[in-house]
Amino acid sequence: MGKVVLEHVTKKFGHVTAVNDFNIEIDDNEFIVIVGPSGCGKSTVLRMIAGLEMQTSGNINIAGDLVNNKPPRDRNIAMVFQNYALYPHMNVYENMAFGLSLHGMPKDQIDVKVKEAAEILSINELLNRKPKELSGGQRQRVALGRAIVREPEVFLMDEPLSNLDAKLRVQTRAEISKLHARLNVTTIYVTHDQIEAMTMADRIVVIKDGIIQQVADPQTLYDAPANQFVAGFIGTPPMNFFRCHLVKKDGTLHLKANGIELPISSDWMTSLESFVDQELILGVRPENAEICDSATGNIKAVVDVVEPMGSETYLHLNIGGQKAIIRVAPDCRPMLGATVGLSANLERIHLFRTDTGETLIK
């Protein structure tokens, strides 16, 4: 049904390559989130699937149909835009009915569908209002309503939550997830917010500079990032990175930097042998290091800032000139400027190449 396949899709704007050799197979009913920093080409991918932007090369298949040269209206998709793009001169009902009447559906059938969709989104009270009389959250619902009423093969959503305030965003996020579970329609969702990606996606596509960095389910992306970019992009606070030297001492490998001396498990001996005496990037997630006595820890740090969040506390640390944030228990309140020891969970550290950023061990 709503399977979407992109093969070697490339988009160039003049000399700038916005999307480079993009390949992905999105399954029927899957919820895919494309995530990346602004300007990475994620919206361009979505717009190419919608037919609003023509790819420079490559193929796009929607529901088994090659749609390369088809205009948006022939692709059986519905799209939710960042600024909602509701037609200001039509009321909510007309906004939702517009697409159906364009496809020649009889009026009584349109009426049934619009009211059904309005029911699902609890906007039946708003049907006679104009978009300007609605709040941001209500507009968002109408935009969603306009999409679901069409019963398309694929939903495309372009940062639909970014104009909402924080509280409403969390609420709407859950509603979109629920909606997807209920309607079971392939959904391609673009965002720069990794939390949205983590919470909603079946699979996440991380893009940087128009190139796919990794495609995986949220947990895999978090636990086993393919490179330093993905590791740093997914997770809040982000993963801490330290420049270290890999040294061999008494037959075992160690990572050394100012304030850091970390033994490396012998399991990785063979894969890391060729990097001895080279600089590597050590990655430690904020929750994968614990505060301990400065004498016993494998990392020595000076406390810069203590941020109590209620349920947990973030410590901003200075480790031999390199900055780091770790997550500790809420009652852990070391003195500012105090030297503390950290013991990093050696099972959960990450190592990346300095030149390519590629993951060496996960």
Binding site: G51, P71, A78, M79, F81, Q82, A85, Y87
Partner: protein, 273 residues
Amino acid sequence: MDDKQGLKSKILWYLLVLIFIMPFLFPLVWILMASFKTQAQIVAMPPVWFFTPTLENYQKVFIDQDFGRFLLNSSIIAVGSTVLSLILGLPAAYTISRYKQRGLGIFILLARLMPGISYLIPWFILFSKLRLVDTYTSLIASHMLVGMPLIIWIMINYFDALPKELEEAAQVDGCTLQGAFFRVVLPLSGPGILTASTLAFLFSWNNFMFALVLSADRTKTLPIAIYSFVSYAEVSWGSVMAAAVVIIAPAIILTMVFQRYVIKGLTMGAVKG
């Protein structure tokens, strides 16, 4: 104390306003008054401020001079050139705005910036050869030269300010590009279209030079008709003033009714928001 001061500054403010609008308003008031005076009252010195109004001048204008026909001519030409300019100008402006055809836009503006008089001789020769002198066609076409660039340039700004996503949403919903233009873009462009067409209409309505060369008896417009009241023997001031009121009235009414839109339309795009 405060109230007194407030009153004083208010009076001062209105006095200033009066001083500023006097030079613009006085001729209008004078024209209006003179149109209801007799020739003797008009030329009387010192001016007569209080008099029994007479409709004689209007009678002369409409019955003796067949001013109704000139009014009709002016209306046909102004409405015709405005409507045709809209039909051609709106899609042109949309295309220039959406496909960033600024070069084309500047070319159109250039045609507008050329002094109108430089077109007149070539036009006269061209229209003579085509036997189009003294026809609505030639006058409408000539007025479109000014009306259309005006419409295009006002509407480019207007279309630039409309979010592109609206048309994209319409396309995703099932519209063709043209469908999105007619169903979504045009209905949202009312104020802009109103501004542009008001200005184009007023230009055509007030135009003297093009009509002087390209019209004759059949298509004489109001400004030319007034001109014919001025003869070597005498100037029939009463008739001229009555005719002037007939010309000015639609322009003023139109501007008053649409002034809110006209100002909004002209500043559109200046502050995108």
